[in-house]
Symmetry: C4
Subunit: 231 residues, 4 copies
Amino acid sequence: MTSSVSSSVTSSVAGAVAALRESVCRLHAELVRYGLVAWTAGNVSGRVPGADLFVIKPSGVSYDDLSPESIVVCDLDGALVDGELAPSSDTAAHAYVYRHLPQVGGVVHTHSTYASAWAARGEAIPCVLTAMADEFGGPIPVGPFALIGNDDIGRGIVATLDGHRSPAVLMRNHGVFTIGADPRAAVKAAVMCEDVARTVHVARQLGEPLPIAPADIDRLYDRYQNVYGQH
Amino acid sequence: MTSSVSSSVTSSVAGAVAALRESVCRLHAELVRYGLVAWTAGNVSGRVPGADLFVIKPSGVSYDDLSPESIVVCDLDGALVDGELAPSSDTAAHAYVYRHLPQVGGVVHTHSTYASAWAARGEAIPCVLTAMADEFGGPIPVGPFALIGNDDIGRGIVATLDGHRSPAVLMRNHGVFTIGADPRAAVKAAVMCEDVARTVHVARQLGEPLPIAPADIDRLYDRYQNVYGQH
Amino acid sequence: MTSSVSSSVTSSVAGAVAALRESVCRLHAELVRYGLVAWTAGNVSGRVPGADLFVIKPSGVSYDDLSPESIVVCDLDGALVDGELAPSSDTAAHAYVYRHLPQVGGVVHTHSTYASAWAARGEAIPCVLTAMADEFGGPIPVGPFALIGNDDIGRGIVATLDGHRSPAVLMRNHGVFTIGADPRAAVKAAVMCEDVARTVHVARQLGEPLPIAPADIDRLYDRYQNVYGQH
Amino acid sequence: MTSSVSSSVTSSVAGAVAALRESVCRLHAELVRYGLVAWTAGNVSGRVPGADLFVIKPSGVSYDDLSPESIVVCDLDGALVDGELAPSSDTAAHAYVYRHLPQVGGVVHTHSTYASAWAARGEAIPCVLTAMADEFGGPIPVGPFALIGNDDIGRGIVATLDGHRSPAVLMRNHGVFTIGADPRAAVKAAVMCEDVARTVHVARQLGEPLPIAPADIDRLYDRYQNVYGQH
């Protein structure tokens, strides 16, 4: 299943692939640092700029053992284009997202505890924190139950995100997928998703969180997307 | 937006600024160590002794990437006076506190999980632990819901802290602000706030914590503020 | 109680023992990393290929102080065959499993928090997460209450696992035992057991998790056991 | 308040003091590692063999800054005998325990989250885990509410532990004190106390843990105290 980079991709793309393998490899360490993953259950991918390709974690490899070289390259149908190892078993879902959402440059999947707990009940996370309004612009929605092995998960992700500002979707009885303009933004969304999933869970354990007015959610979202950070 | 230290501040102040940038930079690591912050959501500031200035975290910069040089200097209206980066998006709130509470030398803001959960319900944390009587001298109060972008958050902090001994205030649906005589004291208050927010939450999950008599809270607070530590 | 390896085991077995002591020693660090053990409460063992022997943690030794040499060798009755230290107090339970389940090459025991909480109520963990279907193929069952000191624990483990696909069993009021084809697989099962025990607990705190259809559990289990990872 | 070791203690005791300062200093790192302490709230002490003295943490010093030299020496009335710093504000409670329980060689105090939550409700932790039977031989009892500043806390600890096998006592609205034959045993009791406080809390969140028969608790306790570990 392996082929050399030189035969599959042009040399200008080869540089982009090398840089992306490096950054996607490093971003998996953020999933570990924030406690979003146990053993090997969670993965980051990134679209190769200027090519119908993305890079993704190999299947079942421990985070300690990941190296840039171990990150595999797939085409947008999820077929292996370059790499020594079999791609993540979630590759088809990532590929579906890249095929159908051209603005997406990074995808992350985890089974992080609190997000997955909401997903197990099939319940959207209500937007009751300003940090959640900032990052998600509203509730974090729930997608359908879907089996692995075909396009069902990818289709569920794309259909559910349509009509929400949230870059995160809880897949029923499963876990969370997040998207971003690049892999780092998708990792940030995964970190923030678990953070707000936990805080809202804890809030609800002892009563009902107060609502935030929809107009205020809009104001917070607009400001955060346009003013926050370094420009 | 950048100007050189030498033109903006006198040389005696320049030394104070350099020392404060160093300590405020280092104190952000305590927010990380105690798990009070996810990604870049949380910041520490410190008033420059002998000047109408304070230093604060730059906006959206990862804690790993903070250096003393990256910490920015602002005047008490929150305008950037020195530094290469845009100040924290919470700068206006910090500035308001420094303008209105002259005894305050440090301010911290986090979205720490348990404190934010109480804030999401708009519920003050009752003083049912001796450690809470020691540090907070009573309940940790809740301030109003306020949007970012003007003085509303700062005004809410100052108005709520007035009449409480607590150096921490829960801002509704948002998170926590703490104050101290210096940035280290404000960080300590943020750490202890989350610690007691969590313990009281856990206690209440299985019943009602026993009250501490107000006179005992007073005795504990007086002793801790005057006897504890090295003098 | 000590005897030299050369007199007890053949030289071809000696190499297998040395390699296994090394890997079993290292695998204890995974119990620490995932927070499954406090102080010295938890142990990993591994069957020696080609011999009626297994290696196991010595009793009451801190994880920091474990070295490959400190790992002891026992026969399948749990008697010490090689090593300077007394074997784990759970050795009889491990030995029983190796005697009665020839396909098992590794056993792990922990008191990990969430798994032990289900065990304290004597309640099986329902299979409401796809990750749980993948790894456990159904609910994680509960075995009987059993005292340490004879074969009762081992007998309870083996009797309970019979008729389940789960490599984990919750022992009532006690903790969890997991099995695997090798020690690493048993450690993975212990990590995943705590992960799903926690997620399902959190899900149930605020309502009822949605069920997964038994046929879907079968499909997920079959796929994960045969397709996941590198082959 | 400082005097030199040579004038206060004989030279044979001086060696014991030096060794104890070293080990008590190191044991504080275990409180940090197991998450039992926030900021400076928690302390370890150890009785000096062959002298009416004990060593203890200085007051308000960060765990990062502790060194063997910073650990102070007190007499059994809690008066400073040797050291540059003021002793822990909990010194009177430790001293009371050493005066009244001659078999005790180590004392630990923390505000660890789950133990303190039971203490805030004034509720003993029921013995529903075999690990709890092993280490505590029954429930972990609750002592009275007591203010700091005189012998009330020490008296409450000693009176409550009398008639229990537990080396841990929950002090109402406060935290936990543990005792042991040496400081390491007291630290172990503090670690195990929080571990079982958390597991039993989690178990009770979703129902009622099953009881363990008193005769089985006795059997487990007797075995663990006499057989476990290296002898």
